[in-house]
Symmetry: C2
Subunit: 227 residues, 2 copies
């Protein structure tokens, strides 16, 4: 499904260059459930942005179902992002002056889903994360954990074939974290591919396998544990 070969990402920040990722070779198969762990600043979100077609590598290639992403037009890329990929961002990225319901409807709006079905499916997604009673709250009228749950509902509402979850439990109490992992397990059982970034080993263990990133490179578990 997803194949990264020699992928690197270099950022410019002021006068110096920062290596975000280096020499990444990674295969992710359909239906995979992969956890990504690594220290702060190691490149995990950078990897997720590339997987989700939100950013492009500086070097190397990324193939999605055999097609090099670099050969796709901006429209084709946008289409993939909107229909195939669900993204739970590390810093939520909700629209502050829109309600929880509106925020969750957004991917359905992009997918051209009709008004009534949209509202109904968005409500179901909010119900799945226990926030039906907050549907009318503006997203800046929600607690931190509630914002994270709305971000989760939004990522799931399109039943994406690829779900990218970047530290989705950082602001959740342990019970909500478990509830989320149950949702992800069910989604994976139904065939979705899941990539989950987390600092929490207990959360990572819900995945089928774990990869480790240190200083922009994939490393063995032993190397990661040495730190």
């Amino acid at each position: 499904l997803l194949r990264l070969r020699g992928v690197g990402k270099v950022y410019e920040a002021g006068e110096h260059a920062v290596v975000g990722l280096e020499g990444i070779d990674l295969d992710i198969h359909p239906g995979d459930f992969l956890a990504v762990m690594g220290p702060s600043g190691s490149g995990k979100s950078t990897l997720m942005n590339i997987l989700g077609c939100l950013d492009v590598p500086t070097t190397g290639s990324y193939e999605l179902k055999g097609t090099p992403v670099s050969s796709l037009s901006p429209e084709a890329l946008a289409a993939i992002r909107n229909r195939e990929v669900g993204f739970i961002f590390q810093v939520f990225h909700l629209l502050p002056r829109y309600t929880a319901l509106r925020n969750v409807e957004l991917p359905l709006l992009y997918a051209g889903v009709g008004k009534e079905e949209r509202a109904q499916r968005a409500l179901e997604a909010l119900r799945a994360v226990g926030l039906e009673d907050r549907k009318g709250h503006l997203s800046n009228q929600l607690s931190g954990g509630q914002k994270q749950k709305v971000a989760i509902a939004r990522a799931l509402v399109n039943r994406p074939s690829l779900l990218l979850a970047d530290e989705p439990t950082g602001n959740l109490d342990s019970r909500s974290g478990e509830e989320l992992m149950a949702i992800l397990a069910r989604l994976n059982a139904e065939g979705s591919t899941i990539v989950l970034v987390t600092h929490d080993l207990a959360i990572a263990r819900n995945a089928r396998r774990i990869v480790y990133i240190v200083d922009g490179r994939l490393v063995t578990e032993d190397r990661y544990r040495e730190l």
Copy 2:
């Protein structure tokens, strides 16, 4: 130092009222190190905003060193906030187009500290969280954990007598979490009062005592554990 009596907070959200907090009686002594735990949406950030004079209770009273906060002028309140209180927000609130260094300098700017001393103390604070080499990055050029560390450095740079940390480790790897707890332990040993909201029991145990909030009320540990 801080005394809450019968404190309540009601929010208006659309047509219905939401109870954020209810009947809070709490004493926090100088040099205390208090952890606050509770489920998502239980009222922890609401409590922190009131303690930090960023919001006012709808009912009850809040006294700071014997002075009712409700009797203070806006200028006096702002003065207390800027000089006495350090706040690590749950969602960072950094200025995205300013560098890490500028962001950390901000409280010193409000406190009227001169240009050279400001830059030097901000750099020291960044060094304390291991981010000296990111000082020139704009805050939107930082990883999630790095943003959280800049937010931490900013809260500490004024050596506040009251530090309010709202889920400061949510985006940090466990090692960075331990480093932060060492910083807080040192600050507390030097006399600062610390209130720390966290979902992580391992983090909460670094405090001297723990209080629990469920549905806006302070409850016993047993009640919290029942959930």
